[in-house]
């Protein structure tokens, strides 16, 4: 099974406001896939479809080699989920919550659950409803990890949490992935957090997956060029010119895709001079990608 999650020609509609058509997405097995996109782009909806919480109008959803929603119970037995909003019974204490969850998963690891409880510094006697937001996040992460899943799906797990909690949760996540072969599908708009750990990136905007590729190709693919004295009209560029901005005077900032080092010769040909080539980090690349994707063609 090469892809842990596969969405093929997915069509979904919820009322008049939101829909996606022809969504195709692949999460390779064993990868840490960062699912990026602005708010409202459809990330949570996609995740819900993957978990069988929502039924698509058309298309195929294959998770861990099985069909969703037909095989939902067997898929969910091997999938850990950390949702955006706390979804657990607020009256149960942390200890009781763990006991509840453990009853449903034969793969539950009690020793590791205890370890995480200690490293997350959680008071097991407190009812879930009375925990702070960060502690709730940690509990939900704990539940998903102690289950020892093959696939972890996280929907903005660190959203609104302080940096210390975020660090703890990501550390636990990375620790888990280094212990066993697991696939992680994590959505977030905290781009720099994902930058460190993800090896695949999928960008969603307005119900469409506008790009999906390995992280290093995404990062190296988009660059900013500082160009001086470029003519207003350009015949044909060897790279894809995504945007062109004036920096004042004859200096311009170009955002390009598909840059190769040999292409510096192009600038000699048009009588301009290339000053620097700057790598964009993930966040900048993401912003530029969205900007060009949303700009009217023409």
């Amino acid at each position: 099974m090469s892809n842990a999650i596969e969405l093929q020609d997915l069509h979904y509609r919820a009322g008049k406001s939101f829909a996606f058509t022809n969504l195709n997405l692949h999460v390779p097995t064993g990868s840490i896939y960062g699912f990026l996109g602005p708010n409202g782009s459809g990330k949570t909806t996609t995740i819900r479809v993957v978990l069988g919480l929502l039924r698509p109008r058309a298309g195929r959803v294959t998770v861990l080699g099985r069909d969703m929603p037909a095989d939902a119970p067997s898929i969910l037995a091997r999938t850990g989920f950390v949702p955006e909003q706390p979804h657990l019974d607020p009256t149960l204490t942390v200890r009781e919550t763990l006991r509840f969850q453990a009853a449903f998963y034969p793969s539950w690891d009690r020793t590791w659950a205890e370890q995480l409880l200690r490293s997350f510094d959680l008071d097991e006697r407190l009812p879930f409803g009375r925990l702070s937001k960060g502690q709730k996040g940690k509990v939900m992460m704990l539940l998903a990890l102690a289950q020892r899943p093959e696939l972890l799906v996280l929907d903005e797990p660190t959203d609104g949490l302080d940096p210390v909690v975020r660090r703890d949760m990501l550390t636990a996540l990375v620790d888990y992935v280094s212990q066993r072969e697991a696939t992680v599908f994590i959505s977030s708009h905290l781009v720099h957090e994902l930058e460190r750990i993800c090896d695949w990136v999928g960008v969603m905007d307005n119900g469409q997956l506008i790009t999906e590729l390995p992280m290093d190709r995404f990062k190296s693919g988009i660059k900013r060029l500082q160009v001086v004295q470029a003519p207003p009209d350009l015949a044909g560029t060897p790279f894809t010119l995504l945007a062109r901005e004036s920096n004042g005077g004859a200096c311009e900032s170009w955002i390009v895709r598909g840059w190769e080092p040999e292409m510096t010769m192009y600038f000699d040909g048009i009588g301009a001079s290339l000053q620097t080539v700057i790598d964009l980090d993930l966040e900048e690349g993401f912003v530029e990608l969205l900007r060009t994707f949303r700009a009217p063609r023409g």
Partner: protein, 126 residues
């Protein structure tokens, strides 16, 4: 040791980790026989993809700085002193190159740079 790891830098993360470790071996911070942190520990500490750490360690193994022993971990190899010296020299050149490039961009002349270096060295050397 690893606080300079910067995901936003154009250098890939695995290369940054490998460089830092290479330097540690060259500067004898890590001695032959010392164990490197396990992939799991280092990945968790840096909050990076474990595959990144594995790649760094593999690169170091190819270059002959460490050896990965199945089941036991990754250990520093006996590295020739001149190899360590040449590694340090390489790092020094890279540092100077970066400094000159930055200076050029800021409009600092070589003479001004030289003066600043001399002053700083005097200040730092007791």
């Amino acid at each position: 040791m690893f606080d300079q790891i910067d995901p936003r830098s154009p250098t890939p993360l695995y290369a940054q980790i490998a460089t830092r470790l290479r330097l540690a071996v060259a500067a004898a911070e890590l001695r032959p026989g010392d164990a490197l942190p396990s992939v799991r520990q280092l990945a968790a500490r840096l909050r990076v993809n474990p595959a990144t750490v594995v790649q760094a360690y593999r690169d170091l193994e190819t270059e002959g700085f460490v050896e990965m022993r199945q089941g036991a971990g990754t250990f520093v190899r006996d590295v020739q002193p001149d190899k360590r010296a040449s590694e340090r020299a390489r790092q020094a050149v890279a540092l100077v190159r970066r400094m000159l490039a930055d200076a050029g961009r800021l409009g600092v002349s070589v003479e001004e740079l030289h003066a600043a270096i001399t002053e700083e060295i005097e200040v730092r050397t007791p």
